[in-house]
């Protein structure tokens, strides 16, 4: 296990596109979260988005908006294994096919962990900077960090599964982005009146972080008073975990069934 982590670490550490995309993601999310207090929210509950404990909602929401960047990191990372035929070489050198997939999944967890830690530090910094009267550093709102972590692993697992399936970086990115549109169509057109729509994978992952825009939209249409969820819905988190397990199992299955 430790060996597998250090293998993935060597591959990531020396990869310049990994650093460029990661730093880019960090800078943009810092900028976006920092600007959050100028966003119209239409609610008093969300009046001071950068203060504790609301910062946890704001930062995870903004950072999750930018999840495409780490997803591309994963797609490039997996694509490299096929491009350089190192997936093949790893199996020749003695990894079982299942262990190979698990070792690559470590990269998913590694990247998700780095980003989550960054978002925590970013929130602490901005929250501390914004001043104001602090009632509660880590209120129930802090649970959105856990939601964010699961969401990240979830979306990255989905990108992971697609890259194992399609091997080629370009195709994987197109399919990954394309699926976002497919799910929007499914959500708003096909399953409009069906509860199924709340169980679509990206919808489940999205529900793990706070979403002012969508919550507003839903409440407008339902004529109800806007009502924000201030803590993570653990049921959605469990569904998210199931989706992650499915992505991982399918990847293992596909990789085992095919010639490397």
């Amino acid at each position: 296990m430790l060996d597998l982590i250090s293998i993935e670490y060597i591959k990531l550490k020396n990869n310049s596109s990994f650093w460029i995309i990661l730093v880019f993601y960090m800078l943009i999310s810092f900028y976006v979260v920092g600007k959050a207090d100028s966003l119209p929210t239409g609610s008093d509950v969300f009046a001071n988005p950068l203060q504790f404990p609301m910062i946890w909602l704001t930062s995870t929401y903004c950072a999750s908006f930018l999840v495409l960047f780490p997803s591309i990191l994963i797609i490039l990372n997996i694509g490299n294994e096929f491009k350089y035929k190192t997936a093949k070489q790893h199996v020749i050198d003695g990894l079982s096919k299942t262990t190979f997939i698990l070792s690559k999944f470590i990269s998913v967890c590694l990247i998700a962990t780095i980003i989550t830690i960054y978002v925590i530090l970013l929130s602490l910094f901005l929250g501390w900077q914004s001043g104001g009267e602090v009632q509660d550093f880590f209120g129930e709102q802090f649970s959105f960090i856990a939601g964010f972590y699961i969401q990240l692993i979830g979306v990255l697992s989905f990108a992971f599964f697609i890259s194992i399936l399609f091997k080629r970086t370009g195709i994987s990115i197109v399919v990954f982005v394309g699926y976002y549109f497919i799910e929007v169509i499914l959500y708003y057109l096909i399953f409009e009146d069906s509860p199924i729509r709340d169980y679509l994978p990206l919808e489940v992952f999205n529900s793990l972080t706070f979403s002012p825009i969508k919550d507003n939209l839903d409440s407008f249409s339902g004529l109800s008073i806007p009502e924000f969820k201030l803590s993570l819905n653990w049921f959605s988190a469990a569904i998210g975990a199931i989706y992650i397990a499915i992505c991982l199992s399918l990847s293992i299955l596909i990789f085992n069934r095919r010639d490397v």
Partner: protein
Amino acid sequence: MDTILKIDSLTKKYPSLFAVSQLSLSIDKGSVFGLLGPNGSGKTTTLGIILGVTSATSGNFSWFGKNNSSSDRKKIGALLETPNFYSYLSAKSNLKISAKIKGVDYKDIDRVAEIVNLKDRLNDKFKTYSLGMKQRLAIAAALLGKPEVLVLDEPTNGLDPQGIAEIRTVIQNISKIGVTIILASHALDEVEKVCSHVCVIKKGKSLIQGNVNDVLVGENLIEVASSEKEKLKELATTFSGFKTLKEENYYLLVTLQDSSSSIEFSKYLITNNIIITHFVKRTKSLEEFFLETTKDA
């Protein structure tokens, strides 16, 4: 003798063809086994199957007389078709990854780099390497952890004569220390020079296999010349072990029966008082043999 690898009626069917068909062979410990065949004859497919990256349609194989498990491959060093490394990493980082997978200490990296003569270039990125260096790095990676078996698929493919010579020296040195080597090649002289055993394959089928000398000697051929050409012809055809005769430019090419020896033939000529100006026992060259066996029927 210990058997390192046993292959039993291995078959791989692709939609349009049989890449490997009913291939059986057995490789002894310490031998240098050549898998010889023209391009597309199924060498890489065969090696891919025994290395766990290609699935067989039917048939079995067994390493070290055991059931196959992925961890057995850690005792095998292999280069399949191309050197597979991360181009953006240094050679050293690439070797570290291989070492980690095989559970080998990083200390071994210097040793294998020394063997393939890349010690000074370890910190350079893989993408800056020449083809020959890439190939040597792949051999270095295969040597990590002192494997019992080395599988090399066309290790000299695409190299210039100097690169070919370097790789061959490396292979010969490795085999001297008792490592079993399985070498796939389309180049006959390569197999002739370095292998102790050979299996010639064509369209996935084994045509012939065995000890290189047995397979390659083939027929009992003698070049013989004399100023008294007619007398020589007559004597040769009346020799008890005579089989066929062919007239070449300056000599006669005599084929003897398997049971007969060149010494007996020479004694026979001498006792018949003929002056011989040229007498050479010729082994049918592997080249002729190879072209003959692999040419399209």
